[in-house]
C-alpha cells in the first residue's frame, strides 16, 4: 500500500507505532505514521476538542553551542534573537542569499545561554547545518508533540514541569532521570507542548502520555490541522522562489537588527518593488478538497495556483492556501480548476479556524 525505500529512517517510536497499527508512509526521508486506527478526521477533531500526541521526531535538531552561537544565528536567520532570551523559542527563516527564497522555516529553542536547538524540517537539516554549523543530534532523541486544549492537563500527569512551560517558552526537565527539553510550541493552531526526550527513554515517555488518555495522531491530521490554522509548510507555501513577504510572513523578518541576515539585500529589493504574488486563503462551497497545483482563475484568466488544499474537518468544506496576484483581495470570487472541473471559491480571512479562547 505504501512505497518503502531502503534508506528510510525510523523514529525511536517506530515499534510503538507498529504496535498501534499505524499506517506508515515515507515522509522527508523518514517512515512515519500517516494515521492510526481512528483515522485522520477523528484525530483532527480530537486535537481541536481535546488532546492528541504526534511523533515529530523527523524534525531535525541541530545543536549550535558555544560563545559565538548567538552571534552566528543572529546574523544568519531573519528573526531577531534580541526580542527573546534564554528559555524562549522563536520562529524564524533561513533565506537564500541570492534571491531571498525561504530555504527553510525553523523553530529555534534557546535552551541555555550558549545552547540553541535549531529545528529545521526533516529534509532540510543538511541545508541548515551548512549555514549555521552545529551538531546534528536528531537521532539521539524523539520529539513528542502533545497538542490540543487539554494538552497541558494530560501532560501534567507525566511531567508537571513540562506541562507548565509557557507559550513559546523552553524548559529543561528531567523524566525518569533523563534530561529532556519541553517547549510551548506546535503546528496545529492549538495550545500544546513539544517534548524532546532521549531516544532510549522515548518509548516509555510516549506510553506514559498515551496512558493518560491521549490518542495518537499522524501526519494526515497534522497536515489538515496546520492547513486550517494557515501555518505554512516548506515545499508548499515556502520554498524556492517563495519569499517570506510573498507568504505573508513579514513579521518573521527583522529589518532593524544591526547584524542583518542572509538574503537581506534581495528581500529589501522585493519589499521596495512590491511582491509579485501573495498568499491568500480560499474556501469552496462544497466538500471537494482543492489540491496543490490547482490553477486559480479570475474571469477565466489564471491569477495563481493552490499551494496546499484539503477538506476542512471543522468547517465541513474545502479550503486552500494559494499564491495569487497581489491585487486579489479578501472577498474576491474566483474559480479553481480541479480535475477538469470549475469549482467556485471565495477569498477568505486567515486562519480558516481560530483557536478558541
Amino acid at each position: 500500500m505504501t512505497e518503502t525505500e531502503p534508506a528510510l529512517r525510523h523514529s525511536p517510536l517506530y515499534a510503538a507505532h507498529r504496535a498501534l497499527d499505524a499506517k506508515m508512509v515515507p515522509f522527508g526521508g523518514w517512515e512515519m505514521p500517516l494515521s492510526y486506527r481512528d483515522g485522520t478526521i477523528a484525530e483532527h477533531l480530537a486535537c481541536r476538542q481535546d488532546v492528541v500526541a504526534f511523533d515529530v521526531s523527523h524534525l531535525g535538531t541541530v545543536r549550535v553551542e558555544g560563545a559565538g552561537a548567538r552571534a552566528l544565528l543572529q546574523s544568519t536567520l531573519t528573526n531577531d534573537l534580541g526580542k527573546i532570551a534564554p528559555g524562549r523559542a522563536q520562529y524564524t527563516h533561513l533565506l537564500d542569499d541570492a534571491d531571498g527564497s525561504v530555504l527553510d522555516d525553523i523553530i529555534v529553542w534557546w535552551v541555555d545561554e550558549d545552547v540553541f536547538d535549531v529545528m529545521p524540517n526533516a529534509s532540510n537539516t543538511a541545508r541548515v547545518r551548512a549555514a549555521v554549523g552545529g551538531e546534528d543530534v536528531t537521532s539521539t532523541r524523539a520529539v513528542i508533540a502533545v497538542q490540543g486544549p487539554n494538552a497541558r492537563k494530560h501532560l501534567a500527569v507525566v511531567s508537571s514541569e513540562a506541562a507548565a512551560v509557557g507559550r513559546f517558552h523552553v524548559v529543561c526537565f528531567s523524566w525518569q532521570g533523563q534530561p529532556c527539553v519541553a517547549a510551548g510550541t506546535g503546528y496545529t493552531g492549538e495550545d500544546g507542548v513539544e517534548c524532546a526526550v532521549p531516544a532510549e527513554a522515548a518509548p516509555s515517555f510516549w506510553e506514559a502520555v498515551l496512558a493518560t488518555g491521549v490518542h495518537p495522531a499522524g501526519l494526515g491530521a497534522r497536515d489538515t490541522l496546520r492547513l486550517e490554522a494557515a501555518l505554512p509548510l516548506h515545499g508548499h507555501e515556502l520554498g524556492p522562489g517563495i519569499t517570506p513577504l510573498q507568504a505573508g510572513l513579514g513579521w518573521v523578518v527583522s529589518w532593524t537588527k544591526p547584524e542583518g541576515f542572509l538574503g537581506r539585500d534581495a528581500l529589501l529589493r522585493e519589499k521596495e518593488a512590491g511582491v509579485a504574488r501573495h498568499l491568500v486563503g480560499l474556501a469552496t462551497e462544497g466538500r471537494q478538497p482543492p489540491r496543490s497545483g490547482a490553477p486559480v482563475l479570475r474571469d477565466g484568466a489564471r491569477v495563481g495556483e493552490v499551494t496546499s488544499g484539503n477538506f476542512s474537518p471543522v468547517l465541513g468544506r474545502g479550503v486552500a492556501l494559494a499564491l495569487v496576484s497581489p491585487d486579489v483581495g479578501e472577498g474576491s470570487h474566483l474559480t479553481l480548476e480541479l480535475r477538469g472541473r470549475q469549482v467556485p471559491v471565495e477569498v477568505v480571512r486567515l486562519p480558516f479556524v481560530e483557536k478558541k479562547g
Binding site: 494515521s35 494526515g220 477538506f311
Partner: protein, 126 residues
C-alpha cells in the same frame, strides 16, 4: 480485509453485485482502507453510459483522489445521493450503505469475466 464471497471484483478494487438484471457497484474494503477517510465523492449523472475499465466517478480522501472504474459496459440507473453529505459511509460500510451506483449492464454475462472473491483476495495479498 473483508472480501464477501457473493460479489465480483475488479483489479482496480471495485466490487459488483448482480441484483435482478442490474449491477450495484462500490469500492472494496481494501480500497477504502488504502484511501483513508473519504471526504468527497464525485458521482456520475443517472443515465450516463459507462464503459468497462473507464473512470466514471471519483473518490477523494484527506490523502488523495482515486478514480472509480466501471466493471462492465452499461448505463447508470441509480446513484447513492446520500454520499453527498455522508461520504464516510464508504469507509464505514463499503459493501452496504457505501455503495456508489447501480448500472444496467449491456450484458449481464459480462460479470463472469470479473474476479471472484478468491481471485480478488489473492490479488490484494500478493
Amino acid at each position: 480485509m473483508n472480501v464477501p464471497e457473493d460479489l465480483r471484483y475488479t483489479a482496480d478494487h471495485e466490487w459488483a453485485r448482480l441484483e435482478g438484471g442490474q449491477v450495484r457497484i462500490g469500492i472494496t474494503d481494501y480500497a477504502q482502507d488504502a484511501l483513508g477517510d473519504v471526504v468527497f465523492v464525485q458521482l456520475p449523472e443517472p443515465g450516463k453510459g459507462v464503459k468497462a475499465g473507464e473512470s466514471f466517478a471519483e473518490v477523494e480522501s484527506t490523502k488523495s483522489v482515486s478514480d472509480v472504474y466501471a466493471p462492465v459496459d452499461g448505463t447508470v440507473v441509480e446513484i447513492n445521493a446520500d454520499l453527498g453529505d455522508a461520504p464516510q459511509r464508504l469507509n464505514d460500510d463499503p459493501y452496504g450503505e457505501g455503495w456508489i451506483c447501480v448500472i444496467r449492464p449491456d450484458d449481464t454475462g459480462a460479470l463472469s469475466s470479473l474476479l471472484d472473491a478468491d481471485g480478488y483476495r489473492k490479488l490484494t495479498e500478493s
